[in-house]
C-alpha cells in the first residue's frame, strides 16, 4: 500500500497566507515521527477563508483541516494525522461542506483536487477526454457542440463562442490563431489565476480543441505580469505538454507575459501588445475573427471560456446548456471578494441572485458592519445598493438592472465606504489606464475626476453633477472601447443609488 496522500495548496492566495510553511511543517513532522506520507501540492478549493486548507484521503473521501498554521501541525499529528482524527480545525468531508455542495463545478471540477502538474492525475480525472472526442468527431461536430452549449464569452462581453469560432473556421487563410486572454485585470476577479494555477492542462486542452475546430496550429496565452505564480505553473505545464506530445507541430502554445497595462485586457489592445506595440485599441471592424493577430483570422477568448470547452466536449453541448437560465447557459465561476466574510470562488449555474451569493454563501461583510454596496464586474461594473441584491446573476438581468456581469467578480463594501470617493476612483483609474487613443476616454476621465472633486468640496454640486452626467453620456457614446465606454457605470450608479454621499 502506498503512503497516504496529504494535500496542501500551492495556489498564490494560499501561499500568501503561509501554505509553504505549513507544507514544510507537515513534511518535517512526518519525518520526525517516522510516518510515511506523500505530500501533494494542489490548487485551491476556493474557500479562501480556510486557507491554508490541508486535506487527507479517507475511505469516505477527502477530509479537510483549516485554516492550518505551522504551529497546529504537531497537534494534528497527535490527533492521528494523516488518519482523519478529530481536531478543532477539522472540517469533515470537503465535498459535504455547504460551500462545495451548493456549487455546480464544471470548469473547476479538478481545481484543488489534483496535482496541477501531473498529466497522470489530469487524465485520471477526465482530462483529455474532450480533446479525444474532438479528434474522433472532427471540426464541424465540435463547432456544433459549442454552438449547442450556448457558451458565451466569459471575459465580460458575453459574445457566443460558437459563432466566433465558426466565423474563424470559415475565414480563408493559411494561418489562424487561438489567443487566450489571461489579462485578468479587474479588481475582485481571480478565477483565471486560480484555474491556471490549479488545472493548467484544462486551458491547454481547451485551446487545442479550439485550434482543431477552426483550423489553427498556433495559440498564444497573454498572461498578466501581476501573476508570477500562474506564469511559473503555466510555463511548466506547457513544457510537460510538449514532452508528452499533447503540444507540438500540430498545435503549440506560446506564453506571453503582459507588462502592467490594464487596457491590454481589451482584445484588440492585447493583439497590438502581442505584435510589439503600445497597447492601443483598434477600431472595429474589422473583427479579430477576420483580421486578428498579424492580420490572421483569430479566436480571442478568455481563460474561462476556453476551459469550459473540454467539459462541453466530454459531456455534450446539451448537457452544458441544461445549466443556467434565459440566454445565459452553463455555469459561471463567481468570485466573492472585498469585505466579505467567506470569500472565494463559487461556480454555479446562472440565475442565482446577488443576495444568495453575498449573504447566504458569503456570510455578509467580513467587518460585521452593515453591507452598503456591491460592485459587480470589476472597475467598469456598477455599484448596487442593498435594495437591488435580488437581481439574478445572468447577462441580461444584470444589464437590465443598470450593470454588467463582466468577469463575475463581486466586491462587497460595508457602511464605511464613501461612494463619492469610489466614483472619483473610477474616473481616476480610467485616466491612469486609458490608452490615449480616443478623446472621450483620455480627456473625459481626467475632467470627470476633477469635477467630482469639486462636488465633494461643495462647489456648485448640482451643476457639477449635471456636468458629470453629460460627460458620462459622451464617454459612453463616443469612446472607442469599453474602458471609456463603461466608466459611466460605476460613476452614475454611485450617484444614482448613493446620492447622499455627493456633497461637502
Amino acid at each position: 500500500m502506498s503512503a497516504p496522500r496529504v494535500y496542501v495548496p500551492a495556489d498564490a492566495a494560499a501561499l500568501s497566507v503561509g501554505a509553504d510553511a505549513v507544507a514544510a511543517a507537515i513534511a518535517a513532522a512526518a519525518q520526525a515521527r517516522g510516518i510515511e506520507i506523500q505530500l501533494v501540492r494542489t490548487g485551491t478549493r476556493g474557500m479562501l477563508w480556510l486557507e491554508p486548507l490541508v486535506e487527507v484521503d479517507t475511505a469516505d473521501g477527502r477530509v479537510g483541516y483549516g485554516p492550518v498554521n505551522p504551529a497546529d501541525v504537531a497537534s494534528l499529528f497527535d490527533a492521528g494525522f494523516p488518519d482523519a482524527g478529530a481536531h478543532p480545525l477539522g472540517l469533515g468531508r470537503i465535498d459535504a461542506l455547504p460551500w462545495m455542495a451548493r456549487q455546480q463545478r464544471l470548469s473547476f471540477e479538478r481545481v484543488g483536487v489534483i496535482d496541477p502538474l501531473s498529466l497522470v492525475d489530469y487524465r485520471a480525472h477526465g482530462g483529455l477526454a474532450g480533446l479525444q472526442h474532438a479528434r474522433d468527431t472532427g471540426a464541424d461536430a465540435v463547432l456544433q457542440q459549442i454552438i449547442d452549449s450556448g457558451l458565451r464569452g466569459r471575459g465580460g462581453a458575453g459574445f457566443p463562442a460558437g459563432i466566433k469560432w465558426r466565423t474563424v473556421a470559415q475565414a480563408p487563410g493559411p494561418r489562424k490563431y487561438i489567443v487566450c486572454n489571461a489579462d485578468e485585470g479587474d479588481s475582485g476577479t481571480f478565477a483565471d489565476r486560480m484555474l491556471i494555477e490549479g488545472d493548467p492542462f484544462a486551458l491547454i486542452e481547451g485551446m487545442a480543441i479550439a485550434g482543431l475546430a477552426v483550423g489553427a496550429d498556433r495559440g498564444v496565452v497573454y498572461l498578466r505580469s501581476e501573476y508570477p505564480q500562474a506564469i511559473a505553473v503555466l510555463r511548466r505545464a506547457l513544457a510537460l505538454a510538449r514532452a508528452d506530445g499533447l503540444l507540438g507541430a500540430h498545435f503549440d502554445i506560446d506564453l506571453r507575459v503582459g507588462a502592467g497595462a490594464y487596457i491590454c485586457g481589451e482584445e484588440t489592445s492585447l493583439l497590438e501588445s502581442l505584435e510589439g506595440r503600445r497597447g492601443q485599441v483598434r477600431a472595429k471592424p474589422p473583427l479579430p475573427a477576420h483580421h486578428g493577430l498579424f492580420g490572421r483570422p483569430t479566436v480571442v477568448n478568455n481563460v474561462l471560456t476556453l476551459t469550459a470547452v473540454p467539459w462541453i466536449l466530454r459531456h455534450g453541448g446539451k448537457a452544458y446548456a441544461d445549466f443556467g437560465c434565459g440566454r445565459s447557459r452553463g455555469s459561471m465561476p463567481v468570485q466573492l471578494a472585498g469585505n466579505v466574510r467567506h470569500g472565494g470562488l463559487f461556480e454555479c449555474a446562472f440565475g442565482i441572485t446577488l443576495r444568495e451569493l453575498v449573504v447566504d454563501i458569503g456570510g455578509g461583510t467580513a467587518s460585521g458592519r452593515p453591507l452598503r454596496a456591491v460592485q459587480v464586474g470589476g472597475p467598469l461594473g456598477a455599484y448596487f445598493p442593498e435594495s437591488l441584491l435580488d437581481t439574478p446573476l445572468d447577462y441580461e438581468a444584470m444589464a437590465a438592472a443598470g450593470g454588467l456581469l463582466g468577469h463575475a467578480g463581486i466586491v462587497v463594501f460595508d457602511d464605511s465606504v464613501d461612494m463619492a470617493a469610489q466614483a472619483r476612483f473610477a474616473f481616476e483609474f480610467c485616466a491612469l489606464e486609458s490608452c490615449g487613443k480616443c478623446t472621450p476616454c483620455r480627456i473625459g476621465s481626467t475632467r470627470g475626476a476633477e469635477t467630482l472633486a469639486k462636488v465633494s468640496r461643495g462647489i456648485a454640486p448640482e451643476a457639477n453633477l449635471k456636468v458629470v452626467e453629460d460627460l458620462c453620456t459622451v464617454m459612453t457614446d463616443a469612446s472607442l472601447c469599453a474602458l471609456g465606454g463603461l466608466t459611466a457605470l460605476p460613476v452614475m450608479s454611485a450617484i444614482r443609488h448613493f446620492r447622499e454621499d455627493f456633497g461637502p
Binding site: 501561499l15 479562501l48 481571480f190 489565476r193 505580469s225 502581442l274 505584435e275 510589439g276 497597447g279
Partner: protein, 169 residues
Amino acid sequence: MADTPEFDVRVADALIAAEIAAARDFYGEDANGATALLPILHALQARFGCVPAEAVPLVAEGLNVSRADVRGVLSFYHDFREAPAARHVLKLCRAEACQARGCERVAAHLASAHGLRPGQTRDELTLENVYCLGNCTLGPAALLDERLLANLDESAVDALILGLKESGS
C-alpha cells in the same frame, strides 16, 4: 532580489538575439515586425533591473524598428523602468477589493510612519501602486518582489519593513 549587474552591450545583444530567434521559431514570417519587443524588454529588465537608455538603440537595431517605436512601448507599459528600483520593490494593491478591506489605511501609514509614497524609494525599498493582484478576498494585498502578501495592516507593514532592514544590514 539580488543585486543586478551593470549594463553590458554584449549580454544585451545576446538576450535580444535569443528573443528574436524564439519569436521567429514560433511565429515564422509573422515575427518579422516587433513581435519580440515585449519579451526583449522583460528579459533586459530581469537581467539589468531596468531597461537603460543605452539598450534602446540595440533593441531598435535588432528588430529593425525605430528608436521612437521602442521608447514608445517602453513608456506605455507600467512595468518597465528606465532606472533601477531599490533592492526590494513593494507593489501595494490600490484597487476596489483591497480598498474595501482597508488598503488606503495601509498606504497612509506607509507615508506617515515610513515616509514612503508611491514611486518613492527609502532604505532599499521602492513603493509602487498596483491595481489587482488577484488576492481579492485576502486583501489588503501586495507583491514584495515576487512574493504575494495578504491581510496587510499597519503592524504587518511595520514588521515587514523592519525585517527588510534587518536582513539588509
